[in-house]
Structure formats: C-alpha cells, structure tokens
C-alpha cells in the first residue's frame, strides 16, 4: 500500500508590513526608483505556503569620510572612491546595489567633528550622484545623531530616506524629524524580541505610520553572536506571521559592518594557517553572515565588499525562484 505525503503547510494569519524607501519626483522626492520590502506571508523563502512579493535587497555601505579603520581588503577593492562619497555611491549603483547606506562618521580623518552643514552637503552630493533610495546613519552617539540626522531630514525633505539608528534614548527626536519631512526610521534594539516590540509601540505612539519603520534587531557576525541574531529574528518573524502587529516591520541587518569588524576579516598576517586565504576568508565571512540572516528573515542586508554584491544578489534571486 503506497504511502502518500501531504506537505505540511502552516496557516499564518499575519504578514510583514510593506515599507517603501525613496520617493520619485511625482511622490515628492528625486529618486529614479523606489524600493519596497516586506509583505511576505511565510517564513523566509517558503514559497509553498505563502507569498514573498518583494525580494530582500542589498544595501551597499558607504561613508562620508575616508574610513581609515576599514580592512585593507575593502579599501583596496573600492580604490579612490572612498575619498569621494558621491563617486562611491555611483560605483555602488554600478555594481548592482539596490540601496545606498550612507554612514556619517561624525569626524573626518583628522579627527575634526563633522558639522550639520557638512553632513547635509554630503547627503545632497550622494542624492545627486545616484537615483537609488538612501539610508542615512549617524555616528551612533545619541546627541551627535540627533544633531546630524535632524539637519539631513530637513534638507532632504520628501525623499523617504531611512534614518538611523532610532534607539530608546533618542527615538523622539529622530521620529519627529521623520514625521516632519516624510522620512523613514530604523528602530534599533539589542537582540531582544520584547525590546523590539516596545520601541515599535513607542514610535507608533508618536503617530509615525508603521509603513515608515524598519526594524534593526542587532546583527551579530558569523562567529560573533550570529546565533543570537538568528534566533531573535526567527522569533520576531514567527510573531509577525502569528499576527502580532508590533513585530511586523521588515528587518534590516548590518551584515557588512559586523563581519568586517572581526579579526578574521581585518587581519591577514600572524593568524592560524587553518584560517586559509585572507581574501577568501574575509569575503566569504560576510557572504555567509548575510545568507544566514536572510534565511532567518532579513529584508535588507548591508554589505561592504563590492565583490559580494553580485554574489549575495544572485543567492537572493535563487532563493526567490519558486
């Protein structure tokens, strides 16, 4: 008597919220195109039980000032453009970036603090150089973030830039700026389902529509806390699909930044021979971190190495093939 297999399908009641980055001229911005993420009604890439209307996307990370602290492998791969954010953004678009993530370092190579006017000038230069939607992140200190991001939000009014990071200590200022100038925010919390929910609640209490909120669950790189991010993201996505409205934001993961901070990526000499070739190790470290996060629910992954942009995009394309 032959057995028959009935494919087990979960019946989810919820879905991830759709969020659109960027605005075209008709929509009040200047972008050549917009990028929409989210909308999925299944766990990552399980096309047999739900919809995946928008493929996850790749954002390329660029900086306003030359990143002296970056791995020599990255600086070599990008060449001169790291000294010119506009040229850098153009190059990132050429190699296939879906989004540009501009990081405002807060200081230049000489250690001088960036002014709000300088930050605005860089953002305008980048907007002028590329038609892609933009993510702009501050230096990561609440006061400095507020100072720079508020100015950027105002100067680029209507562009639907994703501003980050919005944390519990500074979300009010950033959310107010996003509200006033039609921008988005990235809500960031440290690897915890409840903290992520709580910040989304606080942000929506300020009347920012949730279709303008991305969620950063905090990324751990491969070998450096990846498993924590992986499981928190799976739990957030399960909650979203089960209908918990405050966990339904698309997730953004800073895969490049986290991987390239680690010794395996930064250091080429004086490491164990078992670590293998430096370039291969470092580049694959980033790609493997990215694919693991995509498989646990990332909607946007940010990358640093140009060679990984086509590789990760191709993997996403294959994951989307149903």
């Amino acid at each position: 008597m032959p057995v028959t297999v009935e494919i087990p399908k979960e019946k989810w009641t919820g879905s991830v919220r759709e969020v659109t980055l960027g605005a075209t001229a008709e929509q009040g911005g200047t972008r050549a195109k917009t990028v929409t993420v989210g909308g999925e009604t299944s766990l990552p890439f399980l096309h047999f039980e739900g919809k995946y209307p928008h493929p996850p996307v790749v954002a390329v990370e660029i900086h306003d000032n030359h990143p002296d602290d970056w791995s020599p492998l990255l600086l070599k791969a990008w060449g001169d453009v790291t000294r010119d954010p506009a040229a850098w953004a153009r190059k990132a678009e050429e190699i296939g970036a879906d989004l540009i993530m501009l990081r405002l370092r807060g200081v230049d190579s000489a250690g001088t603090e960036t002014t709000a006017a300088q930050a605005v000038a860089v953002v305008k230069a980048v907007l002028g150089a590329t038609g892609l939607p933009l993510i702009v992140r501050g230096p990561g200190q609440a006061e400095r973030d507020n100072e720079l991001l508020v100015a950027v939000a105002e100067a680029a009014s209507g562009e639907r830039i994703a501003l980050g990071l919005c944390e519990d200590k500074n979300y009010r200022t950033i959310v107010a700026a996003a509200l006033a100038h039609n921008q988005l925010v990235i809500a960031s919390t440290p690897i915890d389902v409840n903290l992520a929910k709580q910040l989304n609640i606080l942000i929506s209490d300020m009347n920012l529509p949730l279709d303008r909120v991305l969620m950063d669950p905090t990324t751990g790189a491969l070998g450096y806390g990846l498993e924590y991010s992986y499981s928190v993201m799976e739990r957030l996505r399960l909650a979203a699909l089960q209908g918990d409205g405050m966990t339904q934001q698309p997730m953004i993961c800073f895969a490049g930044e986290e991987s390239w901070r680690q010794k395996e990526s930064k250091v080429g000499e004086g490491v164990p021979a078992a670590w293998g070739d430096w370039y291969k190790r470092a580049v694959t470290w980033e790609a493997t971190t990215a694919i693991s996060l995509l498989n646990s629910g990332a909607d946007i992954v940010t990358l640093r190495h140009p060679d990984n942009v086509p590789v990760v995009k191709k993997a996403i394309e294959k994951l989307m093939a149903s």
Binding site: P2, P8, F45, P190, K263, A274, R281, V283, T288, L319
Partner: protein
C-alpha cells in the same frame, strides 16, 4: 513523540487482571504514558501492541551513525524545528567529495588534507567529518582502488557513492567494519543496494526523483521492508529555494506529523546547486542552519572549512547555555608584579578573543575573568553581570592585590561608563579604559600602557 494514556489503553487486553501491579489496565496505561512503568509488566500484551508502542516511543528522526571508533559521527534525533524552542543536538557531518576519475595521488593528497584539517575556536578543536568517494569512472575495480587509497590516508568516516551495485560491492569489500554510508538506493536499484546495506550492516541513502517526497517515502518503506533500518534521505532538491523547501518539509513531517517514512536525517550536495565556490559555501551555510544531517562539499578550502565549522558551532550552540570559561585570574606570557591587569567577562568568545590578543601581543599580563554568567561585555553590562560591583568583587575574591604591586585595572572600552563607579568601589585604584575591540589590545598594551 509518545502516545497518550488513552491511546495506549486501546492496545492493552482491557481485562483488568491486576497482574501488572496496577488496579486497572487504564491505570497501567497512564503510568506507561508517563514512562513510569514498563510494558513487559503485562503478561498478556499482544505482539502487535508491543510493536506499536515501540514505534511510538522511537525518536521521530532516527539517529544514524557513520564510521566507527573515535571518528564516528552521529546525526539525527533532533526534536525541534527552531533552535530557540530547545536546541539542535547533532551537528551535520561535513564531508568532502573525491572522484575515482581523479589521479590517485591527487585523491590521496586531498584525503590527507581533509583528514589533517583542524582549527581552534573558543577553545574547541573543530574538524571536518569525512570523505565521500564517488564512482565517476563507472568501473568497479577503479572504485575499489580509490576507496582503498582514501582509507589509507584517513580514519574519518567515508561515504561511498556508486550507482552500480557491483561497484558498491567492490568498494564495500575494502571497508570491512568501517561502517561507511552508502549512496544511493534509487527506485531502479534499491533491492540490490538494500541487500548490500543489510549484508554489511551499513546505513544507506534513499534517493528519490527530484523533490518528489511521496516517491522518497515509498522508497524508504521498501527499504525498511527489506530489513534495513538505518536510512538517510536525499530528496534530490539541489538549489537554494527547492532544497530549503524540501528540508523544511521533511523536518516538519518527521517532528509535527511523526511521519515515519521520512523520519531520517537528510544529505545535501551544495556544490551541485551552485555555480561557484562562493555560492557553494553559502548554500552549505543554508543547509547547516536548515536541517541537513550530512553535507558533501565539492571543494576543500581551509577558509571555507573554517567558516562552515564556525557557523555549525554557532547554530548548534545550546541557546540556554552560552559556552563559558571559569572566572579567575589568568596568567598570559608569564606576568610579574609590574604587569598590566585587564578584565573582561567569562563568555568564552570574549575570553578567547581577549586572551588570544594579549597572548599575541607578547606583553606579560594578568587577565581577570569575572563571573558574568557567560554573557558578552555589553550584554553582561546591561544585565548587571559586569558592573563596578561585580568587577570589584572579582578583584577581591581572586586575590589580585597580592599578585601585583600597582593598582591599575584596564576595563573594556565598551563599558567606559562604569569607570567612575569602579573607582568608588576600589578605593586607591586607577581605572583605565581599554579598547572597544579585542583586536586593538596589542596596540593598546604596547603604546598606551605605562
């Protein structure tokens, strides 16, 4: 996946004879379901009931052992779909494939490299699990020679891959008692392959036409019907999306439906679904996270091996129990009374990152490891397990003051905010803020200390 008391009751004689020591068959059934009684206590139970109860108490994903002795690998016996629900128990075996069409010297060299590969991470020695030998030549004697050559270079478990039962037989003859996994029984050759598995008492892979789980389930039923119970599944899906779907469906069927015909570990071949080595590594990474039991790579490269072994360690770490080291004072590079004192948490990754950098710097140092319940620096700080009080307590309880003649302590840059409180907790001490990242410690010790 045990039966309920009522389900067990239906299988009992229902005579209430009390010979089992319980007043009624129902009471006995209840105790059985709670695993507080043995079925053998009932003298009248039928063979049919015994078989049903044994089947119900078997793990939903069968544990499969490949290889023998110290290097054997066990996979299967998983109990959850998501690692946060409990943990994943048996990390997938990672194998590298060689073909019998490659020059023998090349095969031997590769086998030796795979065998010798080992990398240290958080105090653990990680290594690959074995070699798959494929009969690409189609010749039985060529295959046997190749298998013997690989066996000569490694004691790691082997997977024998051949479509022709005659070739498989010749390969198996070289591996008496080594318990290789044989690949594969297909709808067209399963009888001969299952007979070989039975004769040599080895596990066997069942391979169905691409992605057809019904065909796969029927194949495993045929194989178990022939008396072979140790089975590994190859659903045939090779790409990023189809293999994710197939592996997820098999896992769910086994765990949620207790579907026996697919209650076995799965083998994957990421190289067959990839266009480049980089893609193979990413797909292998997907298979580590999403339910593979055996992963056969087509390329061996130390960098990729290190990455996949690290990912496997991450995914199979028990989420409830972070890997940690014992709190205390660690001596690095033979420190003396003048040597610097650094402190950090007892999360093993933190410890090994910091200790490795201090060691690499060549600077003799004391490293004070606090009891922060296995958390990393920032997590521990946020949870109150690495604050001024905890550090001060560690300084006192581990007798640090008798080891050094200075009163300076370096704290991680990430917790710079606690330096004031720590100076209050440790009167007479100077608290210095070290680098945020371990990788910057050598520079700090050489340039900033003293």
């Amino acid at each position: 996946m045990g039966l309920s008391g009522l389900e067990i009751y239906k299988l009992l004689p229902k005579t209430n004879c009390k010979e089992c020591g319980f007043p009624t068959c129902l009471a006995f059934a209840m105790k059985l379901s709670q695993k507080q009684a043995e079925l053998s206590a009932c003298p009248y139970v039928s063979e049919e009931a015994k078989a049903a109860l044994a089947a119900a108490s078997a793990p939903p994903i069968r544990l499969i052992t490949v290889g023998s002795g110290d290097h054997k690998i066990e996979v299967g016996n998983e109990t959850v779909i998501f690692r946060h629900e409990k943990t994943f128990y048996h990390p997938p075996g990672i194998f590298v494939r060689v073909k019998d069409t490659q020059p023998l010297a090349e095969v031997e060299e590769l086998a030796a490299r795979v065998d010798g590969y080992s990398v240290e991470r958080v105090g653990l020695n990680l290594h690959l699990n074995g070699i798959a030998v494929e009969n690409a030549s189609g010749q039985a004697d060529t295959f046997a020679t190749c298998v013997a050559a690989v066996k000569g270079k490694t004691k790691l478990p082997l997977i024998l891959m051949a479509d022709d039962p005659a070739a498989m037989k010749a390969g198996l003859a070289k591996l008496d008692g080594d318990n290789p996994l044989i690949y594969a029984a297909k709808p067209e050759n399963w009888q001969a392959m299952a007979a070989l598995a039975k004769e040599h008492k080895v596990p066997i892979v069942a391979r169905a036409p691409d992605g057809d789980l019904t065909a796969l389930a029927n194949l495993t039923e045929q194989i178990t019907g022939a008396g072979v119970e140790d089975i590994v599944l190859d659903p045939g899906a090779r790409g990023f999306a189809d293999s994710l779907a197939a592996l997820t469906q098999i896992r769910r069927l086994a765990l949620k439906k207790n579907f026996r015909p697919l209650g076995y570990p799965v083998i994957t071949f990421p190289g067959e679904g990839a266009e480049s080595e980089a893609e193979e590594a990413m797909l292998a990474g997907e298979h580590i996270a999403k339910y593979a039991g055996f992963i056969v790579l087509d390329h061996f490269d130390p960098a990729t091996a290190y990455i996949l072994l690290t990912l496997r360690l991450n995914i199979y770490t028990d989420p409830q129990k972070p890997i940690q080291v014992s709190p205390g004072v660690y001596e690095i590079n033979g420190p003396g009374p003048d040597s610097p004192l650094l402190t950090t948490t007892n999360f093993s990754l933190t410890y090994f990152s910091v200790a490795g950098e201090v060691d690499g710097s060549g600077v003799p140092s004391w490293l004070l490891i606090c009891d922060s319940e296995g958390m990393s620096v920032l997590t521990a700080w946020a949870a109150g397990n690495f604050d001024a009080e905890v550090i001060a307590k560690a300084v006192k309880s581990f007798g640090v003051e008798s080891k050094i003649n200075h009163r300076k302590i370096v704290i991680p840059g990430a917790v710079a905010v606690i330096s004031g409180e720590l100076e209050e907790e440790l009167p007479g001490w100077e608290v210095r803020v070290g680098p945020r990242e371990a990788v910057d410690i050598p520079m700090y010790l050489k340039n900033v200390w003293n």
